[in-house]
Subunit: 354 residues, 2 copies
């Protein structure tokens, strides 16, 4: 069905079937595109779909799993109505649009860092703390793309053994910096000329131990991981030591974890716990060449975990994580959150059914 | 000067000038070549030079900073005489040739892991423990290419603050696996076809969290770092937690270090200590884009250190290291050892001069 849009061009109204009216802001970006594909693949009940992006993209048509779609304009004076909107853009878009949508009754799921420290916006990893979403929640924050896989793996171990401290070192792919990161690495691999890039230094054939703006010697990425891990695990004083590093990998963040717990851990028990944990896939037979790697994690929803070993003392544990930073680190986590919202807000269990 | 060699071909006898008679076993390998260049650049007093390699290379001529040189045969029945020989080959060559040379009075400086746990062979980083070499030392072991930069940085801090424990995560370049590692990465970047490689998995666009043969869940590389760090620092029970990871970088190993000391550390004092430490270069202004990176470390003798920051508590310290694994991680360290041998063994200070 076509109709005259209020912006003067013909637009498709995507009435896909019975389901919810969904908006995606930042739909042309790398996470926006992944969101579209994850929504489709997980058969999320999308009834009507509207996509938005930066002004340069307005009016463009893009390929989506739901067919070709036109990028609409976000009108500040009359924000569109949706049941649920995904903000897959930066903090400034979240600041501008988050409450504008929420005030109109649109549930907002934001990927940026903007709401992550706001007490009114729960910071959610669906496998870990889904209960922080309730029927009144209007804005939900997605954690950082390294924090999500970390807590997905650590939370079930914390429940069993009581986490005492964490030391983590990350190996983060260039797609964590958006499409510009991928372009930078690709260009550098093809040519040795210095070119303007998403990164301050060459990333091809290099590693860069600094991500984001810093404060007192720690990088923004490191501070995010510390704050968000504490908030999600509800351990506000947990000692977390982090070094965050960019590596020349296109997709897939990896994390070396050295943790200490309050109770003794055994490797076989840890393996059993993780095997039974949702969203986690155990890949752990290093002598046979089996351990998580970004190449294998890319394109998967699950967080891969392996290299599980005792680490100096009965309470010490080391392990290694790889996860797709665009999927579980971003889009998949957001869609899982939307699934919880739908079940709690729009399809609440009947008071009689309990 | 040419003479008929005992192997039937004409060979050059490299009488370079006043100095010592030096042999290099494994001279055609990547570390052997770097050794030749470092010897030349540091103006080591090479009098006569003989180079050896695997049987396939015998009789070949290679370019060296001392001119074209022929690769000689190592004759098991009649080991050649030298003042000093560098073994830049694997453990099996060290096992076969180490004592054969040493018994003839040739001082042996070995790069392989073979002698690193032998009590008669000191394990030397010249900035850290040169005094373990004395006039009678016949075999000297070079530590692993990640252990050398780590202890070069940590030893002066340990002297000041007393090291309590170490957590390290490495980012190791493909040249750590020899020329085959470089070939693997280069081939993979040029083609997507699966090819036999120095690594068990693709390394281009990937990271591999397993280096060497393993034991009880730890990789060989991790066990080496633990054992060698303890031996060099003379802290046999030091808690050392390690994850060793291969990254798609040609030259330059990096290390994320999270350390705890017995006494309180201050960042400004740590910077001062490291600035005055031999073999260390401080690169530490992250907000201005200045931190150690493998691209900058490659081709340098010094170990780059930066990202120095307090790490949870007064005794905690985090820092980041990059060093050229072929230079300070291997060849430079070996030549520095040779310089000590020469000064102690062949030019001992006169008993009257003291």
């Amino acid at each position: 069905m076509k109709e005259q849009s209020r912006f003067g061009f013909m637009r498709e109204v995507f009435e896909i079937g019975p389901g919810y009216n969904i908006g995606i802001v930042g739909a042309t970006g790398i996470i926006g595109r992944t969101l579209l594909s994850v929504l489709h693949r997980r058969k999320f009940p999308v009834g009507e779909l509207h996509i938005y992006a930066s002004p340069e993209s307005e009016g463009k048509w893009i390929e989506t799993p739901y067919g070709q779609m036109g990028v609409e304009k976000l009108n500040t004076r009359k924000p569109p109505h949706h049941d649920l909107v995904f903000l897959a853009a930066g903090s400034s878009v979240a600041r501008t649009w988050g409450w504008r949508f929420a005030r109109r009754g649109v549930v907002v799921i934001d990927k940026s860092a903007y709401f992550r420290d706001k007490s009114y916006a729960p910071l959610i990893v669906p496998e870990v703390n889904p209960d922080y979403i309730d029927v009144n929640t209007m804005i939900i924050a997605n954690p950082n793309c390294t924090t999500i896989p970390l807590v997905t793996v650590i939370a079930p171990l914390h429940r069993e053994y009581g986490l005492k401290n964490l030391t983590v070192v990350t190996f983060q792919s260039v797609s964590g910096a958006g499409r510009g990161g991928i372009v930078a690495l690709t260009n550098e691999l093809e040519s040795n000329d210095e070119q303007p890039s998403a990164f301050k230094h060459r990333i091809a054939n290099n590693v860069i131990p600094w991500i984001g703006e810093g404060y007192k010697g720690s990088s923004g990425e490191e501070l995010k991981m510390i704050r968000e891990t504490r908030r999600i695990l509800n351990l506000p004083r947990l000692p977390v030591r982090v070094t965050a590093v960019r590596v020349p990998v296109v997709v897939g963040h990896s994390i070396a974890v050295h943790a200490q717990f309050r109770r003794s851990v055994t490797v076989s028990e840890v393996r059993k716990i993780l095997m039974e944990s949702p969203g986690v896939e155990l890949v752990d037979d290093p002598e046979a060449g089996k351990y998580p790697m970004p190449l294998d994690a890319a394109g998967q929803d699950d967080v891969l975990v392996g290299r599980i070993r005792r680490d100096r003392g009965r309470q010490g544990l080391a392990l290694w994580i790889s996860a797709d930073n665009l999927r579980k680190g971003a889009a998949t986590n957001a869609v899982q959150i939307a699934e919880i919202v739908v079940s709690k807000r729009f399809n609440p269990p009947s008071p009689l059914s309990g």
